[in-house]
């Protein structure tokens, strides 16, 4: 039977990289893009005071940031990419949240001629095991050859990181929550698949990792 967990904290980010840098987004075309995005985000309670223009550092650092703080949402774009970030993410609000992303990216890209080369979605989750000690749950992920390095007893913490061409997984002890596990995983997509398709893939990745860990989120009623 899976160990029950709570997810007290989670965040998700989608990064869309352009095929080639679009200098217009940080130059002449910036006012057009900002105006279009502001108009697109107004229905989501966006306020102009939550906009920031960064013009320091190299050209790759220049960007415009739009925040909707009450929803934990940030959208930003520069010459090389745009990013959508959601703090306090959960699957219940995911479909509502991507409406904000859809509106912002459509406003940014429309008429720009920019093509998205690839997207990377990253999810970071703090899991709190409710009963079983995390040392027991994470024991199978301990690198066995290193056990000889331990003087005696068990390690205070250890982590497992797996990276491949189109994604990665990091499993670590949480330093934020008692008996917590920090999980971060990412998936890379060629081009820009439809957002529902991306969400399905990320959800299925998360389910698979939870199954590997042997954990299950406790329902709200429990």
């Amino acid at each position: 039977m899976p160990d029950l967990i709570k997810i007290p904290s989670a965040a998700a980010e989608m990064q869309a990289r352009f095929e080639r840098p679009c200098i217009g987004f940080i130059g002449n075309d910036r006012p057009r893009a900002v105006e279009a995005i502001v108009s697109a985000l107004l229905p989501f309670n966006f306020r102009l005071s939550n906009t920031e223009i960064v013009t320091t550092g190299s050209l790759a650092d220049h960007k415009v940031i739009f925040r909707i703080p009450e929803r934990g949402i940030t959208f930003q774009f520069g010459a090389e990419e745009y990013r959508f970030t959601k703090d306090g993410s959960n699957w219940e609000t995911a479909n509502d949240d991507i409406q904000v992303l859809l509106a912002a990216e459509q406003a940014l890209l429309e008429g720009s001629g920019v093509k998205v080369n690839r997207c990377v979605v990253t999810v970071a989750v703090q899991l709190q095991l409710l009963a079983r000690p995390r040392e027991e749950v994470l024991a199978p992920f301990f690198p066995e050859p290193l056990r000889t390095c331990l003087p005696e007893g068990s390690a205070d913490t250890f982590a497992a990181h797996l990276k491949w061409a189109t994604g990665d997984i990091l499993i670590d002890f949480s330093t934020m929550f008692a008996n917590g596990i920090f999980l971060r995983f990412s998936s890379q997509f060629d081009g820009h698949p439809p957002l529902p398709e991306i969400l399905r893939k990320v959800r299925s990745d998360e389910d698979a990792i939870f199954a590997v860990l042997g954990v299950q989120e406790v329902s709200m009623e429990q």
């Binding site: 904290s9 703090d87 095991l129 002890f173 429990q222």
Partner: protein, 184 residues
């Protein structure tokens, strides 16, 4: 040098909202993007040395937002802070009790260290809400393995070392106990 407060710039991070309480303001460190460590909350502020100067982050200060009902969300914030020390399944019920009895939060924060001292530093501490017809209270439980040697003695040592000195502050709304893992 004067200190000013400005909105915290967290544009490139996936900041994980966490509660920061007044006595923790200067304890926190900001950590790199997307690490297991604490991240500043989205509604945080930072102190800077003066207007127009380079920000000098010396700490963060959290706002306690007001819910639509007008009740402050301090209970939820306290639950978040307690989740650093205890596992909490029914967060809403625990938050409700904490909102009604503010002294419990501080006691629970302080109790974690002596509990670990008495039962071992790796023990899981659980916090639960308990309700009866007349009252509601919190129960903090130390999860111990079946082969734990003399848990009663450990509980007595916790009582003697810390709880007897502090129990008056709880108003009778908090109990500490232990529980054997996987016991039916």
């Amino acid at each position: 040098m004067s200190l000013y407060i400005s909105p915290l710039d967290v544009p490139q991070t996936l900041a994980q909202p966490i509660p920061l309480l007044s006595d923790q303001i200067f304890d926190r460190q900001q950590h790199p993007f997307f690490t297991p460590q604490n991240q500043p909350p989205a509604n945080a502020f930072r102190f800077i040395s003066g207007p127009g100067s380079q920000p000098l982050t010396v700490g963060t200060l959290n706002c306690v937002p007001q819910s639509e009902s007008g009740v402050d969300e301090g209970g939820q914030q306290q639950v978040r802070a307690l989740q650093e020390r205890y596992t909490i399944a029914d967060t809403d019920s625990v938050a409700g009790i904490l909102s009604g009895q503010r002294s419990l939060f501080r006691i629970l924060v302080e109790a974690a260290a002596p509990l670990h001292q008495a039962f071992g530093k790796r023990r899981v501490l659980q916090l639960r809400a308990q309700f009866s017809d007349e009252e509601s209270m919190l129960k903090a439980v130390v999860r111990i393995p079946a082969n734990f040697d003399d848990p009663e003695r450990a509980l007595r040592s916790f009582d003697a070392a810390w709880w007897l000195e502090n129990c008056r502050r709880s108003g009778g709304s908090l109990v500490f106990d232990y529980e054997i893992q996987d016991a039916v």
